[in-house]
């Protein structure tokens, strides 16, 4: 669905993105992670044709954004940075205006999407009277119109309350599951990315330092031992790597049962063993902090 081919962009000589290449499959929910200034917005800007790359190309549905932008983004919906609507117009008129730039869309389709984001009661109010959550929902509605196959969501949950975040998350998942949408999203809320995304890319100072699934790696274990000093040489001998917070990880092919047996044999009492699956946050931090 999406292919980024060695995209690079610099601003006033300072590189914002360096040789980014990645692919997103149809129906995938893909997360883009990185600190502020890592290059996430630059990536989105290049994918939407808001920015001209120094080199490289972005392809959406087989069309180059740089050479045939209108075709490439004809089936793309986006929430890019803070959604800016015309405050003095109603939500409905805002939608009508933005959608008219994509094509002629019947009012029934507009209302269908308005209902989907649950704005039907306030859609004819001026946008200046909308809460932040309502604006985000309106932004999602405009991204879902007229009928995208690929949706780019830049911080879609920013500023939402916990209920709003949950609603947004469920809506994104539903869109993928029921309508087969491909979604690319960025968020500072790693827990949201973790719950939603199949794969992630981590950007750091304009470079991609990871792309793939963070799940499926070797699990960590929490060992509750009575004598850590006595256990250390045993663990070292078995190739067990100790990490922070009393977490350990096994060497490839290692078995925790063998580790426990060896510890008991060495006279170390093992009070408990717990499998700890790494969170995206752990994964993210482990990539950013060497």
């Amino acid at each position: 669905m999406v292919r980024l081919d060695h995209l690079s962009k610099s601003f006033r000589g300072r590189p914002a993105l360096s040789g980014l290449s990645l692919e997103i499959q149809r129906g995938e929910i893909f997360g883009l992670l990185g600190h502020n200034g890592a290059g996430k917005s630059t990536t989105f800007g290049l994918m939407l044709g808001h920015l001209h790359p120094d080199s490289g190309e972005a392809f959406i549905a087989g069309h180059s954004v740089q050479r045939e932008r209108a075709k490439a983004i004809s089936r793309v919906g986006a929430i890019f940075e803070a959604p800016a609507f015309y405050e003095y117009m109603s939500g409905w008129h805002n939608l009508q205006f933005f959608v008219s730039l994509s094509g002629i869309v019947p009012d029934e389709r507009l209302m269908e999407v308005v209902k989907l984001v649950r704005l039907e009661k306030r859609i004819h109010d001026p946008v200046r009277a909308y809460s932040h959550g309502m604006r985000q929902r309106l932004a999602l509605a405009q991204a879902l119109l007229p009928n995208p196959e690929f949706v780019l969501l830049d911080e879609p949950t920013e500023g939402l309350d916990p209920e709003g975040i949950q609603e947004m998350r469920e809506m994104i998942r539903r869109l993928r599951d029921e309508r087969g949408l491909t979604v690319m999203l960025s968020s500072h809320l790693l827990s949201e990315i973790e719950r939603l995304c199949d794969r992630v890319a981590i950007l750091h100072q304009g470079r991609m330092i990871f792309c793939g699934s963070w799940k499926g790696g070797e699990p960590h274990w929490r060992l509750d031992l009575d004598d850590a000093a006595k256990a250390a040489p045993v663990l070292e001998k078995l190739g067990v790597v100790s990490g922070a917070h009393h977490l350990v990880s096994l060497r490839p092919g290692g078995d925790m049962a063998d580790v426990v047996a060896a510890l008991v044999h060495a006279g170390v009492r093992v009070r408990g063993v717990e499998v700890v699956q790494a969170t995206l946050e752990d994964f993210y931090m482990s990539h950013l902090v060497p």
Binding site: F11, S41, T42, G45, L48, G49, H50, L51, H52, R69, A70, K71, A72, I73, S74, V76, G77, A78, F80, E81, A82, P83, A84, F85, Y86, Y88, M89, H93, Q96, F97, F98, S100, L101, S102, G103, I104, Q142, A143
Partner: protein, 281 residues
């Protein structure tokens, strides 16, 4: 075509949904009433009356609604309409970029050229609409104050001094609407062009007005008298010659051809700048 018309109507809705747009119309109406009030003052009336009578015409006939309408337009347009058009056109692109709504528009499969074309058309429409409003309300105010009569035109800087009967005068007055609109569209085009560059809306307005003032000042320096015709504001003043006894068509066609070419060039320059820009927050 249907899609294009829908897009134009969307842009028009944006323009006319803003209070600021109507505040402009209201400001003109207020200013016209102020000018009308000043024209009603005895001293002012006596001066106009004296000029008319010194030329051998009857002041009772030519100090009419049509004459007042013309005077109101002459004083209002150059000062206020140019300012207001520069303000509105300076906002057209750069304000949307500043607010972030341009980014939302650019998330759509529409070319940058088309977005500018829509905005250019709406600016043209607005210039014509505002000029028509100013000229018609000035005429109505003049009629309400002084009734029907002949038209007396006195524009010393352009060398126009003429008297017309009511119907020919009214015809020329109405013919002046599109001509004046086209002249003023140069102000719009200049501010529009600048707003396509990476600058704040106020900067586009200030630069436009500065260029116009500079052009006016240069035009009026006596040493440049022989070059007067090349200045932009001189070409923009061509509309007044529609009130000449014998309309200098050749000069007017030449001036308006220049203005059309300048406006088209400004649009193209703005478009190219807009195409090459990066849009980021």
């Amino acid at each position: 075509m249907r899609l294009f018309l829908r897009q134009v109507s969307g842009e028009l809705r944006k323009l006319f949904a803003r209070k600021r747009t109507f505040i402009g119309f209201g400001a003109f109406l207020t200013f016209e009433i102020v000018v009308l009030f000043l024209l009603r003052l005895d001293k002012v009336q006596a001066t106009v009356r004296r000029v008319i009578e010194n030329a051998g015409y009857d002041a009772a006939v030519y100090l009419s609604g049509l004459t007042l309408g013309f005077l109101i337009v002459l004083w209002t347009v150059l000062l206020l309409e140019a300012l207001f058009l520069a303000l509105v056109a300076g906002d057209v692109v750069s304000k949307e970029v500043e607010d972030g709504s341009m980014r939302m528009m650019l998330c759509r499969p529409v070319s940058r050229g088309r977005i500018l074309l829509l905005k250019g058309l709406v600016s043209l429409f607005y210039t014509f609409g505002l000029t028509l409003f100013v000229m018609l309300t000035a005429l109505l105010a003049g009629f309400a104050n002084s009734g029907i009569g002949g038209l007396f035109v006195f524009a010393p800087l352009e060398g126009v001094f003429a008297f017309h009967d009511f119907w020919p005068g009214l015809l020329r007055y109405l013919a002046a609407v599109p001509l004046l609109s086209l002249s003023l569209f140069t102000v719009t085009a200049m501010a529009f062009c600048l707003s396509c560059f990476n600058m704040k809306p106020s900067a586009a307005t200030v630069i436009t007005l500065s260029l116009l003032f500079a052009d006016t000042i240069l035009k009026n320096i006596p040493y440049f008298e022989s070059l007067k015709g090349i200045f932009l504001t001189a070409k923009m003043s061509a509309w007044i010659h529609v009130f000449d006894y014998r309309i200098p068509w050749e000069m007017m066609v030449e001036n308006y051809a220049w203005l059309v070419a300048i406006n088209a060039s400004l649009f193209l320059i703005g478009w190219q700048a807009f195409e090459r820009r990066d849009f980021k927050s």
